[in-house]
């Protein structure tokens, strides 16, 4: 009953979410496209005109390679905070518990959905970048999406834990203000980390998003990421931690 290790049945929960996604795919796809477009338009065309190239990258390219990971993080977080909370309050999880699914299966399925949404978001950003000729197509897209999937497990897990502890939907707004936005700003998505004050550099080093950006930016611009194995390891560890956190929090919540 208190088993925290998910089984392969988590895929059934993921499949359920995909089934519902089919009913609302159009608004979802538009949402996934709108988010990165908004950042690119405002920061890229607005602020970007004033920015010098960063290293060897034009600011637009620097920005879009950050947004691939940043937008993916936001949509992963959105999925297991707001959307999971919604499913919790409409008793979808209660119904699932009356089947061979365990709480850990449900949590893992939700987190997997979050990571998938992250990948969809990243893919949408990639398409925009390719259409705008900011990046050129290649095999690098696969490891980039893999990185996004892995970081999505961490952020999806953390957001699920928050959602399980939040009593009301309003409480989730704090999660946006106190977690998603700060992480987005200290992880090297919009500007290089050297510009950050020392204290924030520490936070930045901890953030898995930082490491995802460290992998994605070189990959997308034709370079091998420096110390890629360490970066990858960090994200993978964070992913395990996130899944565990999500499973444990949802278990606590559903046992009442």
């Amino acid at each position: 009953m208190r088993n925290l290790v998910p089984s392969i049945r988590a895929l059934r929960v993921w499949q359920r979410n995909v089934t519902t996604y089919r009913h609302v795919w159009l608004s979802n796809v538009l949402g996934h496209l709108a988010d990165p477009l908004f950042y690119l338009a405002v920061l890229g065309f607005g602020l970007g005109a004033l920015m010098p190239p960063i290293g060897e990258l034009p600011y637009m390219t620097f920005l879009v390679t950050g947004i691939i990971a940043g937008a993916a993080m936001s949509s992963a977080c959105f999925e297991t905070s707001w959307a999971s909370h919604m499913r919790m309050s409409q008793r979808t999880f209660d119904a699932m518990l009356a089947t061979p699914l365990s709480v850990a299966d449900i949590a893992a399925g939700e987190i997997l959905t979050a990571a998938t949404k992250g990948v969809v978001s990243a893919a949408a950003t990639l398409i925009i970048a390719l259409v705008l000729r900011l990046l050129s197509p290649g095999w690098w897209i696969l490891p980039v999406l893999g990185t996004v999937l892995l970081q999505g497990l961490f952020f999806g897990g953390v957001a699920l834990a928050v959602s399980a502890h939040a009593r009301t939907m309003e409480a989730l707004n704090h999660f946006y203000a106190l977690f998603i936005m700060p992480v987005l700003f200290v992880s090297g998505v919009f500007f290089p980390l050297q510009e950050l004050p020392a204290a924030l550099q520490v936070v930045s080093t901890l953030s898995p998003l930082t490491h995802a950006v460290h992998l994605i930016r070189p990959l997308a611009t034709g370079a091998v990421p420096p110390s890629w194995l360490l970066e990858l390891l960090w994200i993978a560890l964070a992913a395990v931690l996130g899944v565990w956190l999500g499973c444990a929090s949802l278990s606590r919540k559903m046992a009442r």
């Binding site: 009953m1 359920r16 089934t19 409409q90 008793r91 209660d94 089947t99 046992a255």
Partner: protein
């Protein structure tokens, strides 16, 4: 293989200081319909949720389908059908998708699921609504869909938490009819209800539960005969009739209970009808004693705080 489907010994569920289930013993036999009767908060749902393997017992033994709920929850849940108190259909899915998605949770293969779903939708008479979103269904239809969903895995044990609460009489009778045909097919059922008629219509045996304890357990008609008698007279006195009512009732060879503005009289021997009719009243009627009388006597007529 023992014949009992559920075996509970000294079952306890505690939340902090609150003892929701205070050490109960019961067993449910193969093919039986067993009912828990009790007011809201008596511990019925808590007990049911422990049998369902979603709440861990604080103490005691609980075996379902020959397995232990703590260590073999998944195997037990694979053979259960659950109709919860509040409908928890998936509002993001259509009628048919609700069943298909659920069948996947049980690992039922596509082809087999298609046949089963078609059969179940006919059984609950929703085959013509298959492609509508569940929000379009009436309360009664949603309940029937929940019932169909609970049967997707051809369960050996059905758990029904107030299966017809909130339904109109027509919808209720339709659900009862379906449950009786399940029982006839040999499916074991455990249900909770606070509708005495429901218990009388469906249950082979009932347990009256109050404050987390079983007060009484047995066949409904035997319990009524033994503890209440055959007949009940309901008397609603006028204002004038209330004067000296207690003394007049004390003279009768009967057990009397008062609830709100009505007196319930359960005769022990020959009843002095003249004496009763002489009490000025708005309403006077005689009927067979029912489970409701037993229940009210046991759990007190006054509304709980």
């Amino acid at each position: 293989m023992p014949s009992e489907v559920i075996l509970a010994r000294g079952l306890v569920k505690r939340y902090g200081d609150l003892e929701a289930v205070a050490g109960i013993d019961f067993r449910v036999e193969q093919g039986e319909c067993f009912g828990f009767l009790g007011v809201n908060g008596a511990g019925k749902t808590t007990t049911l949720r422990m049998v369902q393997c979603v709440l861990a017992p604080t103490a005691g033994q609980l075996r379902v389908l020959g397995r232990d709920v703590a260590s073999q929850a998944r195997q037990i849940k694979a053979r259960l059908g659950v109709v919860p108190q509040a409908d928890n259909l998936d509002p993001d899915l259509t009628v048919r998708e609700n069943l298909r998605v659920y069948s996947r949770y049980f690992g039922i293969r596509r082809r087999q699921a298609y046949e089963r779903i078609a059969e179940l939708l006919r059984f609950v008479q929703l085959d013509e609504r298959a492609h509508e979103p569940v929000a379009n269904l009436s309360g009664g239809m949603q309940r029937r869909l929940v019932l169909a969903r609970a049967m997707i895995n051809s369960p050996q044990l059905m758990l029904l938490d107030e299966p017809t609460t909130g339904l109109d009489p027509q919808a209720r009778h339709m659900v009862w009819g379906r449950l009786r045909s399940l029982r006839a097919a040999g499916v074991t059922m455990l249900l909770t209800t606070h509708y005495m008629e429901e218990a009388a219509q469906l249950c082979d045996r009932v347990a009256v539960i109050d404050a987390g304890q079983i007060l009484m357990l047995g066949r409904p008609e035997e319990l009524v005969r033994e503890h209440v008698g055959e007949r009940c007279i309901e008397l609603r006195p006028t204002q004038a009739g209330r004067e000296g009512l207690a003394e007049r009732l004390a003279d009768l060879d009967a057990h009397c209970e008062q609830a709100g503005d009505t007196v319930f009289i359960y005769p022990r021997g020959q009843l002095d009808w003249g004496a009763i009719a002489a009490i000025p009243h708005e309403r006077l009627l005689e009927r067979s004693a029912s489970l409701e009388d037993l229940f009210l006597q046991l759990t007190g007529r006054e509304l709980r705080r």
